[in-house]
């Protein structure tokens, strides 16, 4: 299983590298591109965990949908001016300190409880027919949340249109 683990570390490197570059770039388009790198890394991780359907949805919706939306808005909104200004706000030191404290805390707990985690033996079998299983779960157990999610999307569409339109 060395190869298997090796892929995990590579994907982790891609995800974290992409993430760090995402939040440090001056140019928002570059940020979006490194976001794509992270997203594709996460999709690879999903494949690695045998969540194939989710991996495809991740690429389809995130990379093909949300990122394109971001790029669209970045092009509509002129960011040349913004790229020349100061990139970080004034309380960045405080924010960083708090976040590191949080990380230390969570990391400590995770490290202490590391032995209680292990992959289920049957996970490979379960995920054989990944698409069907997700469909059954989505349209069976979680039908109500599914409908609510569709409603959420509808509201989001209307909200976005209302806000972005010049005159209504």
């Amino acid at each position: 299983m060395v190869l298997h683990d090796f892929f995990f570390y590579i994907l982790a490197a891609i995800i974290l590298g992409g993430g760090i570059l995402t939040i440090t770039r001056r140019n928002a388009v570059h940020s979006a591109i490194f976001l794509v790198m992270t997203l594709i890394g996460v999709a690879g991780l999903f494949l690695h965990l045998q969540a194939e359907f989710l991996a495809a949805v991740q690429v389809f919706l995130y990379v093909g949908g949300i990122t394109v939306l971001f790029l669209f808005v970045i092009m509509l909104v002129n960011l040349d001016e913004a790229a020349k200004q100061r990139q970080f706000n004034r309380q960045w030191g405080l924010a960083l300190g708090c976040v590191l404290l949080l990380v230390a805390e969570v990391g400590y707990f995770l490290y202490q409880g590391r032995d209680s985690f292990s992959f289920a033996e049957s996970s490979g079998v379960l995920l054989q027919n990944n698409t069907q299983a997700i469909a059954m779960s989505l349209y069976g157990d979680y039908l109500l949340p599914f409908e609510i999610a569709s409603l959420l999307l509808l509201v989001a569409i209307i909200g976005a249109v209302v806000m972005a339109k010049k005159q209504i």
């Binding site: 570059h30 591109i33 690429v59 389809f60 990379v63 949908g65 092009m75 698409t131």
Partner: protein, 392 residues
Amino acid sequence: MAELLATIESYLQLPYVLPTLYIVIIIAVFPLIAGYIVLLERKVMADIQARLGPMRVGPHGLLQPLADAVKLLLKEDLIPAKADWLLFWLAPVISVVAALVAFSVVPFSDWFFITDTNIGLLFILSISSVGILGIILGGWSSNSSYPLLGALRSTAQMVSYEVALGFAIIGGLMVAGTLSMQEIVRAQQEQHVWFIFYQPLAFCIYAVAAMAETNRSPFDMPEAESEIVAGYHTEYSGFRFSLYFLAEYTNIVIVSSIAITLFLGGWLRPFPNVEWLDFLNYCPAVAMLAIAAMSFLGAVREKRWMEQVGMGGLGAVFALLGLLFLLPPVLTAVQGLFWFLLKVFLIVYGFIWIRFTFPRYRYDQLMKLGWHWLIPLAIANIIVTGIVMVLL
């Protein structure tokens, strides 16, 4: 000798060997095929427009793609001074990679495919949606007005038509009951029907949306040369331009492959379950021999001896192939591949035909067609299909 064959066979049994071999074959051969699709397009265009088309390089211009490739590779590689060079460099690569990766689940025949996952079709859709990034970044990074306008138009068009495309595909998927490309073809074999007969509306919507998705005329708004010069690749030249070109033609083949797999029986021959039509199995051999005969006839009519030799050689190659295909094991092996490629050829021909027949839509008309007609129709199609499937 037998030992060697045994060794080779044992290697071929290894899990990654065959797919890797196919990947190499596809990546190596496909640019050439794309070049010949361009030649086909130019020849068909010339025929429709009462001209001859390329005639100079090789007999009947058959070597034109090679000449074009050399020309494009040797062109100066221009990057506009104020362009974002990293993205300018990356954008065509994204386009090409996204287009070529989609081949990994295309079932060329019952044995010639790289992989067959249970999300095959969804995989192609998601990968081709990554290709949009290549276009939008290419337009933006050029730092010029026309490419930016072209990229915005292109993206809006592709995102809109992706919805219609997805809904049309769902119609076919409901009948097939699987996302795996091989299983879809097998389902058509088991149900004794091509899904185009169950889902004619979905096929029509798919065809229109696919044309828009690949930016082909009459939906070639992003490249409308009378309005916005050349759209998102205005600033590209030489090799990078050829990458965009390759991506465009790859996408055409990909959308044709989806249409064929989902609606037109994939690598199955027409009427695969009707026994008295088994003589159709000899079509590959007959087609090769027919091409050979036509090449020989053409060789006789050529004036220059070089071209006579060229056409004659071509005829000889095809005649040999035809004779080879007459061997039963070879015939069985090429059967699926032949029908798949024949169907791809016919659909690509249709694309070209439409391009040189119709005027171009206006941008608002295009959006209206997509949102007012195709998407509602596709949704209605899904609902009707669902009701019918529940009732039966």
